[in-house]
Amino acid sequence: MAYLSLKDVTKRFSDGTVVTAVNRLNLEVEKGECFSFLGPSGCGKTTTLRMIAGFEDLDEGELSVDGQIFSSSYKKYYLPPENRDFGMVFQAFAVWPHLNVYRNVSFPLEIRRLPKHEIHERVSRALKYTGLAKQEHVFPKQLSGGEQQRIALARAIAINPKVMLLDEPLSNLDPKLREEMRFEIKDLQKKFDLTIIFVTHDQAEAMALSDRMLVMRDGVVQQVDTPLGIYDRPANEFVFSFIGLSNFIPVEKSVSGVRVAGENQAGEVGLRPDSEGSAFKMACRPSEIELAPDGAGPGVKAVITRRTYLGDIVDYLAKVGGTEIRIQKPRRGSNFAAGDKCRLVFNKARWFPAG
């Protein structure tokens, strides 16, 4: 059975007009899973997280955790946040500036009236695993952003939460630190066997951290899958273009397969669409397309119009007649220059309706 489950959860806001921020969301998260919500700003991911936390209540649907119902519109039940036993980490850290590190972490334990020695034990353990053991008596404003975020993590871990909720926890940190903290969170998850739900707009972060993730748009879930599944087998155009770089090439059916629309001279694309129809959008990632030198052989004839050196990767813009296609190849073994003629070989693509 799922550890955390959302059934048909809906949330509306009215600010003049009624906006459906979350539309019949269904989700099941397993115990010990690291699950992320990804989407553009305003898509509803933060609202969903806040409903799980209890800061917003759902208008319709049901939320249950470990078999217990936390909120239900059918049974007219709502458990306030202070009783949900979650740990939460916020984007702006939300550590209390007037309390030192120790008191910040012990606060939730004091509220729960745990015996003193147990509080001390738990706080010490949490601080040890977040690298703050030596900073017990320091105040937040004397610490860096990364360290403050660790206080928030320690505070959330110390209560042995049912679920950890992370709301864009790394957005306010600089890129190098973000990478480091990603691994730390992953380690903490393993060590404490945590179930984690986190919200982010950073695709690399979502893909690097999650066991499974969902992509959301305008309140509607687009796909739930493993990161590789989302990247490689996107459910629709939006998911494909939201994650990573993408080419959408207009193609039309030819006698033996498919050609780039309007470019009969250029040659065949060696793939077949998996559905009926005469015109499609062929979706390919720049790193999926092979570049071959001009001459005989399979592939679509093209001209390189732009070459950008990016270090390990070289980025090319190629034109097939009027259609622009982007290709990225490792630097090793790709020596085309702007103006060169070449062949584009397609090994993999996804097919979407044209228009």
Partner: protein, 565 residues
């Protein structure tokens, strides 16, 4: 080949710096120095004996003691009221919150000495209307309480000063990062625990900042103690200074005593400001939220209506009652008559406008406040620019002089102006409107600098540099880029000065001459002469002018804001 220009020239920057220094020295530094000099030196020699004489005078002690007691009492009472209402407005589901918030600022608009006048009329132990009514109802021989006492002064000052704390705390509560409280909630804390352990400690710096402002203001305040205390011989330092100078007929001896007392006042003010500075530095927490989200709100449930009634009652009591009283008493044919339609007439008001005193004082106040506001606005803009934007040596001197007037009570500035501008340097402005004009500029310069500095800090350096890179000289940059962007700060500086100057009493009461009374002075003088009805009538006129002014300005500012966005 082009040759680069010389590095040092008399450019725009240098002129601005020189002019700023000149203004601040003449307007602020010289008066202060003269006060210290007059207090401590006699004929060029340090004279401690004279100082000790003043300090040993029991009257001085009494005045200092009263000042401290009143200030402490006012601070405690006003802070409590302020925090209570701030919390109600910012953190509960009190109905009509927006209206309440605006209404709670109305006591600010009422000059407190007019309020004192009204309450004297209502509660004075012998002739007060309410006092007499209570005595009649309960069959008492003597008044159950005396408004003309320290307690009365504390009460009245608190009534009209609490908005200082209210504004600060309400703003802090509203702008506080909600995730600070949300993280407490998710940690398991209920709303009362959150308020106690998280919210209150985090707004404490704002509470203290407001409280200290009240203490500072009360220490330096003339109007309320003058109206409620002087008759009974209760003096604080500003009223004592006034008394000494006038009882000695403006002689040097009296002024000297005044300077010694002023020094005590300035030292007390400096101590308070220092404490505030230390407290703020230590406790300053970054709690402002970036995005605006709704903060945690307490549901009042059954208490909603009772608390709303409390708020309305408070406002009625402190705003409506005194205003109505003043209006009605102003129309009485003779003071002391019961307030009934047959005793009221419009004639008083008509006669008032026939009096030269009235028309003169209104004219004087308007001209002085508009003029001073305008000049101070411009000077403040220039000085702020030098302080905030220019990299020059000696800036700290400007900063110091610019902030100094904050710790100088109006009385002290008035005294300093008397010393500076009574012919000592060849310019005699005493008894003219100009001396009041100069005093206002000194008094309000700090506000102008503060407001303009805040606006200038929003104008990032790169905006000016971009203009220079586009081929504009420094002067062109100031004209095309800086001035338009700082306009909101300038305008708010203007109004920050115009309205207080229009209704003030503390400064002009020491500087007025026979033809240069301000509205405040005119009302005060009428009260001193026992012309309570006339004083009330003129107060009503003043209130009308002030309220109209406030509303017109608020609308104007709102329209400007909408244009600018």
């Amino acid at each position: 080949m082009d040759s680069p220009q010389r590095k040092f020239k008399l450019g725009t920057a240098e002129l601005l710096l020189a002019f700023s220094i000149l203004v601040l020295v003449v307007i602020v530094a010289v008066p202060v120095v003269l006060i210290i000099a007059t207090a401590f030196f006699e004929n060029g020699k340090l004279n401690v004996a004279a100082i000790m004489k003043v300090l040993r005078d029991p009257d001085t002690y009494m005045a200092l003691w009263n000042s401290i007691v009143i200030a402490t009492g006012t601070t405690i009472v006003a802070t409590t009221i302020g925090v209570f209402f701030a919390w109600l407005v910012a953190r509960t589901d009190l109905p009509f919150k927006k209206t309440m918030k605006a209404l709670f600022l109305v006591p600010f608009m009422l000059p407190s000495f007019i309020g004192a006048l009204a309450w004297k009329i209502l509660l004075s132990p012998r002739a007060g209307y309410i006092t007499k009514a209570i005595m009649a109802v309960f069959g008492l021989e003597k008044a159950p309480f005396d408004i003309m006492s320290i307690g009365g002064i504390v009460l009245i000052e608190s009534m009209y000063l609490f908005p200082f704390v209210f504004l600060q705390v309400a703003a802090a509560l509203e702008r506080m990062d909600p995730t600070l409280e949300e993280s407490a909630r998710i940690s398991g804390a209920g709303l009362l625990t959150i308020t106690r352990k998280i919210t209150l400690p985090l707004v404490m710096p704002s509470i203290l900042a407001g409280a200290l402002l009240i203490a500072l203001y009360s220490l330096a305040h003339f109007g309320v103690p003058a109206i409620l205390g002087t008759e009974k011989g209760i003096y604080n330092i500003p009223t004592k200074i006034y008394e000494r100078i006038y009882s000695s007929g403006g002689s040097m001896a009296g002024i000297k005593v005044g300077t010694v007392l002023s020094t005590i006042l300035v030292i007390s003010a400096a101590i308070i400001l220092k404490i505030q500075d230390l407290l703020l530095k230590k406790g300053q927490f970054q709690i402002i939220a970036g995005k605006s989200m709704r903060p945690v709100v307490l549901k009042l449930r059954g208490l909603k209506v009772p608390l709303l009634i409390v708020c309305i009652a408070y406002l009625t009591f402190t705003v409506v009652l005194p205003t109505v009283t003043i209006m009605l008493v102003g129309g009485l044919k003779t003071y002391g008559l019961p307030i009934a339609p047959q005793n009221l007439s419009f004639n008083n008001y008509i006669d008032l406008f026939k009096m030269k005193l009235t028309t003169d004082s209104i004219y004087n106040s308007l001209v002085l406040s508009v003029g001073a506001a305008f000049v101070t606005m411009l000077a403040g803009t220039m000085i702020s620019y030098v302080i905030v934007k220019m990299k020059v040596r000696g800036k700290f001197m400007l900063q110091f002089l610019g902030v100094l007037p904050f710790s100088l009570p109006g009385t002290v500035i008035a005294l300093g102006c008397i010393l500076t501008w009574s012919g000592r340097f060849g310019v005699n402005l005493y008894n003219t409107a100009w001396i009041i004009f100069v005093a206002y500029i000194a008094r309000y310069m700090a506000f102008s600098i503060k407001s303009n500095s805040a606006a200038l800090e929003q104008v990032s350096d790169s905006l000016e540099e971009a203009s220079r890179a586009c081929g504009a000289t420094h002067f062109q940059t100031l004209k095309n880029i800086v001035l338009p962007l700082v306009r909101p700060g300038m305008i708010s500086a203007f109004f920050l000065i115009f309205l207080p100057a229009l209704r003030e009493l503390t400064t002009s009461v020491l500087l007025y001459g026979p033809t240069t009374r301000t509205i405040g002075v005119a009302i005060y003088a009428l009260n001193e002469d026992g012309e309570t009805v006339r004083a009330a009538a003129l107060s009503t006129v003043a209130l009308v002018i002030i309220f109209t002014g406030e509303i017109v300005i608020r609308k104007f500012l709102a329209r400007l804001q909408r244009e600018d966005t």
